[in-house]
Amino acid sequence: MTDTPMIDLSDVQKYYGDYHALRGITATIRPGEFFSLLGPSGCGKTTLLRTIAGFEEISSGMIRIDGRDMAGVPANRRPTNMVFQSYAIFPHLSVAENVGFGLRRLGLDAAEKTRRIGTALEMVGLAGYGARAAHALSGGQRQRVALARALILKPKVLLLDEPLSALDKKMREQMQVELIKLQRQVGITFILVTHDQEEALVMSDRIAVMFEGEIAQLADPETLYRRPTSRRVAEFIGVMNFLPATIVSEGSGRAALEVQGLGRCEVDAPPGGVASDGGTTVGMRPETLTILYDGQAPTDRSADGTVDEVVYYGDMTYYDVRLDGTDRPVRISMRNVFGRPVLNIKARVRVGWSPGALVLFR
């Protein structure tokens, strides 16, 4: 990437009185990127978004948008627009008046205004709704109006604060897809705040996982899922099994381990190495483990164990398997295949695994 970053956050600090809400956020967001801020409630996602929008002053650090320092630039003069969590639809205005609100200052003639409002409404699938009263809309429609209203000014960055959290599950999944399509269509940088890891994985080019005012990891969804750099990130995103391990030797980016229940193996060491007295933890995702049926040869390594619990989902079955020599079961997700019966509790099984899928935590 030789592009100048669209947003450049450098050591952004925010205090609310004594409360340290943002603790040194440093990140760059690329032009045209779908970027997500993911983290549990109260970790500072909204605060960070609001400092970018200009609703909150930062205590120290610097925010640049498209190369320009935003210190002292008020919200109404920043090249960003926001979709609020509550949508903030003006209740006294019609849908068209809401969508065209930002055009007032551009000095357009009435015909051009009407045309742009029409285009914006069409873009969010609300063509023909312009004359409706804003308070007569459903949740999904309000959200679309909020989107159209924010996009009509063609901002450099669109900020979205949990825009889907008020919708029901089905509507939410539909809107996720629509938002991705919309973002590709308009090519504007999107910054999405969400506490829903699945939503972030589905929608984003890159994700910053935040805990307590700090970015714990910033990566693309696949890296975040496969190679989380801390147990905390690993636990927040999807399901991760953990097994205790001891380090036998370490050097040149690799580490030899003795993993409880799996045996000796060699894995990638995290950058900077494992600073420990030998005891550590490895993680593995449920789908990287397989239960081998009788006579099936493992693609890599295998270990024996006993089925502890079976959770049947129709297309999938989750097995909790206690590997021999361990005291806690690991979760294994298996696609149900025609002709292979679901296993029973207490069944003895062989579990196929691969050292390459193990994640070693610092």
């Binding site: 929008a53 609703f55 008020p74 919200a75 109404n76 003069r77 960003t80 627009n81 926001m82 609020f84 969590q85 509550s86 903030a88 003006f90 209740p91 006294h92 609100f101 930002g102 007032r104 200052r105 308070h135 209203r149 924010a150 000014l153």
Partner: protein
């Protein structure tokens, strides 16, 4: 209602509260100078007597000036106070808001006396303006209470959305905040007007030589022959007051419904 005793009590209470008001129209239309039962016949002559009384018109004109100015001034002050208290945190906020609301429970007698002393000490002549001063003091808490509820039901992100879309704080106030709290402003104007119109003690103490309607009515009771005409005037005033209060409540509720809240509280 489970206990019939409580039901009876409630009824008696309401009767005691409102029955005397019902006497106003009864005697206003009664064809006798004497305010007593039995009634002696129907007449509208007291209304025409009231209509032809030039000093009544003078008092009414004065009252309109005082109540109109009071309503506007108290509402403007209330607007500032309500806005500050719902949007900003500042040191001593609770104490300041408490002092603004205090005249609501302060005996009017004390307000009237202390203002009179202060005005005389300052060497100011008593006039309609001094009454307006006193009435603004009394009415501002009503305005603050009504407007605070209007501002509280206003989602803060509406303002931020307007700023975000390029409007300045001033144009945001005009384009978003004002239209949404407008029903509250109308309600405040109506309530303040009514409170000021009905007020007697401050009007009596601070008006100087200019009689206001409430003071004029009190004066008429010294002349028994004028009392039925006062009853007629009272009937008109009751009707107008009820109308104004109903309108105020209508606007207050409409404002809250418009900004998405649910109506509750209020004075009527």
């Amino acid at each position: 209602m489970k206990a019939p005793g409580l039901y009876g009590y409630t009824l008696a209470y309401l009767l005691f509260l409102y029955a005397p008001i019902a006497l106003l129209p009864i005697f206003a239309f009664n064809d006798s100078v004497v305010i007593a039962f039995p009634l002696s016949g129907f007449t509208t002559s007291w209304f025409s007597a009231m209509w032809e009384d030039s000093s009544m018109w003078q008092a009414l004109r004065n009252s309109m000036i005082v109540s109109g100015s009071t309503a506007i001034l108290a509402t403007v002050l209330g607007l500032f106070a309500a806005r500050a208290s719902t949007r900003h945190a500042f040191p001593g906020k609770a104490g300041i808001m408490g002092l603004i609301m205090l005249p609501l429970v302060l005996p009017e007698m004390i307000v009237a006396m202390s203002l009179l002393v202060a005005l005389l000490a300052a060497g100011l002549d008593l006039s309609l303006w001094t009454v307006i001063l006193g009435h603004v003091l009394i009415c501002t808490p009503f305005a603050v209470a009504i407007l605070t509820s209007a501002f509280q039901s206003l989602d803060r992100s509406l303002e931020e959305a307007a700023l975000d879309l390029g409007e300045t704080p001033v144009s945001t106030f005009r384009l978003v905040i004002l239209p949404l709290v407008a029903p509250g402003i109308v309600a405040s104007l109506l309530i303040c007007f009514t409170v000021s119109l009905d007020e007697f003690i401050v009007a009596y103490f601070l008006a100087g030589t200019e009689p206001l309607l409430s003071v004029y009515i009190y004066g008429q009771f010294r002349f028994p022959s004028n009392v039925p005409a006062v009853m007629a005037l009272g009937t008109v005033l009751v009707a107008v007051s009820v109308l104004l209060l109903a309108a105020a409540e209508y606007f207050r509720r409409r404002g809250i419904a418009r900004t998405g809240g649910s109506a509750g509280g209020g004075f009527v």
